[in-house]
């Protein structure tokens, strides 16, 4: 976590006398507004979130079909999980689809936001147009995309035919189905993330840009030296939320195959972790196992989120990179005199 802004309270805190007595009483007295400000969330969580949370943890140590008696089984659910090849397939699928969807999606979103931020007309219309995918009904989109990617009757395959290329079995092949799901995810979320980036871009003072232009900086310089660093906190946000969203991918595969008996699609190619969890809980009525899957996902999500946080937050990024913008930034650094924009 970068703390580039020396925040307000610390300076004061340093001035406080260091007696234990004073310190134990003072923090709450001195900082009571901040505690009051953050309290509502924790209170609501305590009341409405805690019970279900503990319940689901407890559930993962039990066997329960949703209606009858619970049976305590200790770590059996987790032991089963480790040896469940279908679960690990779901993990692999989720990661693959995440790579295929989240990375291009965030990159596209950034590009679109930047494009929308320039001086063009009809910005309002474009913004709405890009946001619309995010609010359309997923069920309707399953019909639409199922039709577009249909094996024998779809637009894509007809187009491929027209180019004299062979048809692709989008909907009956495990890789094809991943592509379809990834396309649906990119379609739905690119505009949404670009709106977030746009809001962030709006928050960056135009004076910075003007000053830079006066000094002769071109678009590329502005993009890499000013925009990206200023946007870093927002980029971090979208990376984290897209990671969490990608790991919890559920809607798209579910509307494609959820009503069929084969919930994961062809060869389980579309089976994601949350879809598998949902299947165990609401189709197989094995809530205990569903809970174990959910908590395994939580652990995976935490690890992954931490990795992403580290990657995006660090100022100097060396070695392997996953995040494209960082790579560009490093290239920019390498090609010219490294000058850092000190954001305050």
């Amino acid at each position: 976590m970068t703390v580039t802004n020396p925040a307000i309270g610390s300076a004061r805190a340093a001035e406080e006398p260091s007696t234990t007595e004073r310190r134990s009483r003072n923090p709450f007295k001195r900082f009571w507004p901040q505690y009051v400000a953050v309290a509502p969330f924790y209170i609501l969580f305590l009341v409405f979130g805690m019970f279900p949370l503990i319940f689901s943890i407890w559930l993962s140590f039990n066997d329960w079909d949703g209606m009858g008696q619970m049976k305590f089984v200790g770590l059996a659910q987790y032991r089963f999980l480790i040896t469940d090849s279908r679960f690990w397939l779901a993990v692999g699928n989720t990661f693959l689809i995440w790579i295929m969807s989240t990375i291009p999606m965030l990159f596209l979103a950034l590009v679109i936001a930047f494009l929308l931020h320039t001086n063009i007309r009809a910005k309002g219309f474009y913004r709405v147009a890009f946001f619309i995918p995010n609010v359309t009904s997923a069920v309707a989109m399953a019909i639409v995309f199922g039709s577009i990617f249909s094996n024998s009757f779809g637009i894509i395959n007809s187009f491929l035919n027209w180019l004299h290329l062979s048809q692709v079995p989008w909907l009956s092949n495990p890789w094809g189905i991943k592509v379809v799901i990834a396309v649906m995810v990119i379609w739905r979320w690119t505009g949404y993330n670009s709106i977030i980036y746009l809001a962030g871009l709006q928050a960056v003072s135009t004076e910075l840009y003007e000053a830079a232009r006066v000094d002769g900086a071109n678009n590329w310089h502005i993009f890499s030296r000013i925009t990206i660093p200023m946007l870093r906190p927002v980029i971090l946000f979208t990376v984290i939320t897209s990671t969490v969203g990608g790991l919890s991918l559920f809607t798209e595969p579910q509307v494609l195959f959820g009503n069929t008996s084969n919930i994961g699609g062809p060869a389980d190619g579309g089976l994601t972790i949350v879809l598998y969890q949902y299947y165990q809980a609401f189709n197989q009525f094995d809530f205990g196992y569903g809970a174990a899957i959910a908590w395994a996902l939580f652990i995976i999500a935490v690890v992954f989120a931490i990795i992403n946080w580290r990657l995006v937050s660090e100022r100097e990024v060396d070695g392997q990179k996953v995040f494209k913008v960082s790579r560009k930034q490093r290239a920019a650094h390498a090609s010219a005199e490294p000058t850092e924009v000190a954001a305050k």
Binding site: P6, P40, L44, F48, F130, L198, M230
Partner: protein, 301 residues
């Protein structure tokens, strides 16, 4: 804010010496750039809109036309029929109103509580802050769908089953929004402003209201819109908790259109369009706040 940019190389100065050539080049470059920009945007817009266009088309069709082959991508004539069928089969207007009120309530509460918390997390230090924030993020990662039964039990203990309080109160402050606005607070609110407010004698809440919220406006507006939309589209929890057929939300009411064997898909699509149109309206209204140039002229430096 200080900006350090490298001094331009000599070549530029030479180019600057010839005004006509520079402006022509610059104009051409800028024109090409603008065309490229526009083309890219138009392509993106077409991809974005096409499936939605298809949804609109489906809402004017019959089930046969929707599943027909080849797919018919131009408007048919059954929109009115589908719409009236929807109003006939479900309590449409009542549930539209209910959903609007619930979504509005949640959005307002979320904007209020989340911006408060985010301002504190983003611009202030206080003991335990980091730990609390990490805890907040952790709740963000916690799985949701398994909480149906315990939440239902909790609500029936509270006597909130069937009431909209069960939809509004639990979501009045959420980790997602606090996280979002904290990042916005860090991006868009300069410390100097907060400091100068403190020097002027403003307390935390005054600073939040007069400086924090206006400067985070883009983020707050986005959060409000997004929360409205998420609440509007929420399906599973309202399905479970609402038991009075006269007090339903829109998604639950629309799901009643799914018949046991044969569903009227034209009607379902019309319902989907009805569900989306208000959201687009909300977005248009709310997104004007993205235009405003925040912090313009507030601090020089």
């Amino acid at each position: 804010m200080t900006t350090t940019v490298e001094t331009p190389p000599a070549a530029t100065t030479t180019r600057l010496g010839d005004p006509t050539k520079t402006s022509a080049n610059a104009r051409t470059r800028s024109l090409v750039g603008r065309i490229v920009t526009h083309v890219c945007i138009i392509i993106g817009v077409m991809f974005s809109i096409f499936p939605f266009y298809w949804l609109l088309v489906m809402s004017t069709q019959t089930t046969a036309q929707i599943f027909g082959y080849p797919p018919k991508l131009w408007f048919s004539s059954h929109l009115w029929q589908n719409l009236t069928q929807v109003t006939h089969d479900i309590p449409l207007f009542q549930s539209l109103l209910n959903t609007f009120l619930v979504s509005l309530a949640v959005a307002v509460l979320v904007m209020f509580f989340d911006s408060l918390a985010a301002f504190a997390f983003g611009k202030y230090e206080f003991p335990g802050k980091n730990g609390l924030f990490v805890l907040l993020l952790a709740t963000f990662l916690v799985p949701g769908s398994l909480s149906l039964v315990p939440s239902f039990v909790l609500m029936s203990w509270l006597g909130w089953t069937g009431s909209f309080a069960a939809l509004i109160v639990p979501g009045a402050a959420n980790a997602f929004g606090i996280f979002l606005l904290r990042q916005f607070a860090q991006t868009s609110i300069p410390n100097e402003m907060v400091e100068s407010a403190r020097v002027d004698g403003a307390g935390f809440f005054r600073t939040w209201w007069s400086i924090g919220v206006p400067m985070m406006r883009g983020g707050v507006a986005f959060l409000g819109i997004f929360t409205f939309i998420t609440t509007w589209n929420d399906y599973v929890w309202p399905l479970i908790i609402l038991v009075n057929p006269r007090r339903l939300t829109l998604q639950v009411a629309l799901s009643q259109l799914n018949a046991i064997y044969s569903t009227n898909f034209g009607e379902v699509m019309a319902g989907a369009v009805i569900s989306v149109v208000p959201l687009i309206g909300i977005f248009i209204i709310g997104s004007r706040h993205f235009i405003a140039n925040i912090a313009a002229g507030a601090i020089k430096g």
